[in-house]
Amino acid sequence: MANSEPGNGRESTRERIQRISKSFFLHIHSPKVHPDSLRPTATFGLGAILGTLFLVQVVTGILLMVHYTPSIEGAYISVKEIIFYIPGGRIFRNMHRWSAHAMVFITFLHLFRTFYKGAYYGTRQTNWVIGVVMLLVVMGMSFSGYLLPWDQLAYWAVTIGSNIAASFSELTDLLGISGYFNPGGFFKKLLLGGDEVGQATLTRFFTLHVIFLPVSLLVLIAYHFWRIRQDGGLGKQRIADSDAVLEIPAWPTALWAEVAVLLCVVALLLIAGLLVDAPLKVKANPILPENPAKSPWYLLGIQELVSYSAFMGGFVIPLLFVVFLFRIPWYDKDGEALQGIWFSGLQGRRITWLSALVGTVATIVLILLQEMIPEPGPPGSWLTIVLSMLLNPGSLSVLLYFIWAAWIKRYTRSRRMTVLALFTAFMAGWTLFMITGIWFRGENWQFTL
């Protein structure tokens, strides 16, 4: 039809639909968004940051991959070549490293935001699950990339990590059945491609890091974005009057918001890449262990727990936590009314605060107690192992968190509050174990100040 101009009311339906379907931007974004979504403090742009980081990782990753040699003889030298010889190599290697750390950190922050705002009710249950899976994939990406420089830091961190993967064998060894049933040993071998970190491990990790995990992440991201549109945009408050009045066009404001996030993140990463060098130690030496040998910071919480008891710290507690995370949307049946409100209101805020306090104090006390009390029973005996499994700061604090959450449940009779309490206590404890592992563990894993 003639005079079919957009917005003049005389567009045909087909034209209107095409205007949207032919646009890439409007394919991913809904045409109208709620002004709440544009407020910075709504989501802090964490998802957008993560998207940017992923993009940066892919670009810098490809630049690195072009110059990297995934063999144990050539890996370290090729990394040095990137730093010294390749123009700009030092910078994009640093960017890759810092954005990797940022990605893990911000994924956790994103998890917190989604959780505390209750963005997992109703149809958003699926997206929550995808998110948790992406958290695990991101940690996997970081861990697999950690080995690739093949320096002392990488080699021994992965050695530790592989031994954590074998945590189940503490139980099978105790029961004496490791000869017949050894999933711990199986996982370690699966991870390493052998009995120790070597060429097979490097090849395996390289494949994971550049093909399998990025493609998985890409697919998950696509699904995650699609589900956001399916679920009606970002999780927000239900308001009495009609939402339509409050909606504003996505183009171009939402685009500007996201472009702003992207450019700020890229700028920060560039500056970091220029100014701060990513760590690199001497070439991996299998006969000269680092002391203390530490896994990457996001795994140090687990390493600390494993130092108390391999089975509890490396298998049971992480499993409990992940199962708990997956379970949250189905367990929490009574919080939907308050979705989109931070901490579901004042009561929730108080309970979160208290749980953080309880989690922190209890964990600190238990860690300090652990330092002061000697090991029960003769070392290596059946009794010592069982006691150390049950009576260590990890197991006891998790037990305490559950008791605390149960008490909150009785007190508030609200599942949302319970879940808030347990989650916060868990994360507070987790952070404390991580801090202990990073700053308070020295040679031979001794507690040093």
């Binding site: 544009l38 010294f84 010889y85 030092r90 504003i248 450019l263 700028a267 560039l270 001497v282």
Partner: protein
């Protein structure tokens, strides 16, 4: 907030961020792309050459193009980019520029061109780097193990391919510090505890590849000052226990140049992981254990001198807590037999830090081990000769009064008043004097009877020996001439041995010795109730007439009766048979017995225990473990030392140490009688639990 406001705000942020990115990119490009230090150096070099050479034709050919220059060395598994900044290292149009445009000093690059060797193989450092800090890698927190070496430690790199530790290499003459280090290493006796290139002791770590160790394999916790390997080594030499707590290494007090040289040598000890074509043949051979035989004095310096002292003076118990025997002193050398030294060398000392030097442990050949032992004993001073002494004796020079003084001070404690006997044989006997000549007596005194309690008195001068012999001659003249003569005087001329039938005689001589003599003289002639007559020194000293006379006539009033058949009397043996016994005795001089037989144990253990507890335990420990004195319950020691050795040591003490002379009384202690000394020896002998064979 309204939509337009959001839009403005975010677009402003986005645009500012974009500008920031552009700015950072530009800055980064300038800093990394235009201004890296290597490009600046290259520009500076070009400018310098530009200014110096004004002729435009030749100028363009000498100006290096900008770019990264490198030596790719797949054999050495490295890529060295040093020449990117060090543009004139192999020579340039101007050779007087300062760093980094200096020309390499000396002519080393003619034999070690950069395109074949690179730079880092000798100088250390990180060849791949293009900036100074990373290339030099001197910061201990750096991620590179081998920093650039400073003079003089750079000479250690020559050692990688060229150091033959035991023989010099003429190629290394230019590396004076390394050569000095090698000499110091061999002179100070480091191989006494450490092994290097297959030779040395087993107490310290093997140093063959010490130079290959990186900084991370050293513990710098107690090191002050530079955190470099050379500094660690120097401090380690000065005070090993501080640097490596728990170490028992000796402290070395050497001048600074020697310390630096020694550190350079240690850094140059290497088993290089390079293709063979880079390494000198002598080094390859030495690493496999092929080397020339080393003489005894070099071996002593190399292996023994660190602990035992350069002239065998030992280390005092007061200063060094486990003490080291003085093996160069007269007191030890006069009683240490070759068997004793060889035994200790072979087995070491189980309770002390003496490492075994048997070939399988030390990397020495059997001949080198015995050469070392011979060298130790060669220090025994011989201050007289028979011809001189005889002359003095014949001239009547030799107051026997002085000789009597000598006798009383040195011989009386064992041989008794007027040589009438005690711990040792009384030789104031007419039958003895009939058999023994002055030469025999001279030889016995100067040689001693090693492995018995008779020490060697070879350090006595001609005059002293003459005096002593004149006293003994005086004793001879005063001996009661009524000794029972037990047989016909058989003339020495009958002593001619028949060589043709020697072998047949030998067998029966051995049987006769066993049946007739061994009951008193010991199965192996080591002595029982009678003296050790298969003792090698004795057999060397005693001539055939002496032996014949002693066997046939015996010694009156002693258990040794004359063996000669008197007429048709039952018992006794023929002169031929005596000759056979003598022939057998002579033949044992070259045989080595399987064990070191300790000889007669005549004392009472219980008495000895009491005496030991009262007098000896304060220094030697109640169970002989050794507190301020050597340990006596060491099984190797007990096997090496015969009872005679022990008796001699107890009687005479050890001059220069705190071991008193228990044979004489002093202000500090009383003299021990012969039986008391025998009792103590019996007690000590009781600690021996195993019998170690002399050799495999």
């Amino acid at each position: 907030m309204k939509e337009p406001q959001y839009r403005k705000r975010y677009s402003l942020v986005a645009k500012s961020a974009a500008l920031l990115i552009i700015f950072v990119l530009v800055v980064g490009w300038i800093d990394q792309g235009l201004m890296p230090s290597w490009k600046q150096y290259q520009r500076k070099y070009r400018r310098t050459l530009h200014k110096a050479f004004t002729n435009t034709d030749s100028r363009s050919s000498i100006l290096p193009e900008q770019g990264v220059y490198q030596a790719e060395l797949p054999d050495l598994r490295r890529t060295d980019r040093c020449v990117t900044c060090h543009l004139a290292i192999e020579g340039g149009p101007i050779d007087t520029l300062s760093e980094p445009f200096r020309v390499h000093p000396g002519s080393l690059l003619e034999t070690h061109p950069v395109r074949k060797f690179g730079c880092t193989i000798c100088h250390g450092g990180q060849g791949q780097a293009l900036d100074k800090a990373n290339a030099f890698a001197r910061n201990p927190r750096n991620d590179w193990d081998q920093p650039v070496l400073q003079y003089p430690f750079i000479e250690s790199s020559c050692g990688k391919c060229h150091l033959s530790l035991f023989t010099g290499d003429s190629l290394l003459q230019q590396s004076q510090v390394l050569e000095r280090g090698r000499e110091t290493f061999l002179r100070e006796g480091c191989l006494g505890c450490h092994k290097a290139r297959n030779v040395g002791g087993m107490l310290g770590p093997d140093l063959t590849a010490q130079g290959d160790k990186s900084r991370h394999e050293y513990n710098f916790r107690n090191i002050r000052g530079e955190q470099t390997i050379s500094n660690w080594l120097e401090q380690h030499f000065i005070d090993p226990e501080m640097v490596s707590p728990g170490s028992r290494m000796l402290e070395f007090d050497l001048p600074k140049e020697d310390m630096e040289a020694l550190a350079t040598l240690v850094m140059g000890l290497s088993r290089p992981d390079l293709p063979y074509k880079y390494i000198g043949t002598n080094v390859l051979l030495e690493l496999k254990g092929v080397r020339p035989l080393l003489p005894g004095d070099s071996l002593f310096a190399m292996l023994c001198s660190a602990c035992h002292g350069k002239s065998g003076e030992g280390k005092p118990w007061a200063i060094y807590k486990s003490g080291v025997p003085a093996i160069g002193r007269a007191g030890f050398l006069s009683i240490a037999s070759p068997e004793y030294v060889a035994f200790i060398l072979r087995y070491g000392r189980t309770s002390q830090l003496m490492t075994p030097w048997a070939p399988e442990f030390s990397g020495l050949t059997p001949s080198e081990v015995s050469d070392a032992g011979r060298f130790v004993l060669s220090r025994r001073a011989t201050n007289s000769t028979w011809s001189n002494t005889r002359r003095l004796l014949a001239n009547g020079q030799g107051e026997f009064a002085n000789g009597e003084q000598l006798f009383r001070s040195r011989c009386l404690t064992c041989h008794g008043e007027r040589a009438s006997g005690g711990l040792a044989i009384g030789f104031n006997h007419p039958d003895f004097f009939r058999a023994a000549s002055m030469e025999y007596i001279y030889n016995t005194v100067t040689r001693g009877r090693m492995n018995t309690a008779m020490p060697s008195w070879s350090f006595l001068s001609d005059a002293e020996m003459a005096e002593l012999l004149s006293y003994i001659r005086h004793l001879e003249s005063t001996v009661d001439g009524q000794g029972i003569r037990t047989g016909n005087s058989v003339m020495a001329s009958d002593m001619v041995r028949d060589p043709a039938s020697g072998i047949r005689r030998l067998a029966s001589g051995a049987e006769r010795f066993h049946y007739l003599c061994s009951r008193c003289h010991g199965d192996h002639g080591e002595g029982a109730t009678g003296p050790a007559n298969l003792n090698k020194d004795f057999l060397r000293t005693a001539d055939d007439p002496f032996l014949y006379r002693t066997i046939s006539s015996g010694r009156a009033h002693t258990p040794m009766h004359g063996w000669i058949r008197q007429g048709s009397q039952e018992g006794g043996i023929d002169p031929d048979e005596i000759r056979e016994i003598i022939a057998y005795m002579r033949s044992t001089v070259d045989t080595a017995w399987e064990y070191n037989y300790p000889g007669p144990t005549l004392g009472n253990k219980e008495n000895g225990k009491t005496l030991f507890g009262d007098l000896c335990a304060g220094c030697h420990g109640v169970h002989g473990t050794g507190i301020k004195a050597p340990s006596l319950n060491d099984q190797v020691f007990l096997n090496a030392a015969t009872n005679g050795f022990l008796l001699a040591t107890i009687t005479l003490g050890r001059v220069g140490t705190d071991m008193p002379t228990w044979g004489d009384s002093t202000n500090q202690h009383r003299a021990l009688s012969a039986s008391e000394r025998n009792d103590i020896v019996a007690f000590i002998r009781g600690w021996q639990k195993v019998h170690l064979p002399v050799s495999d």
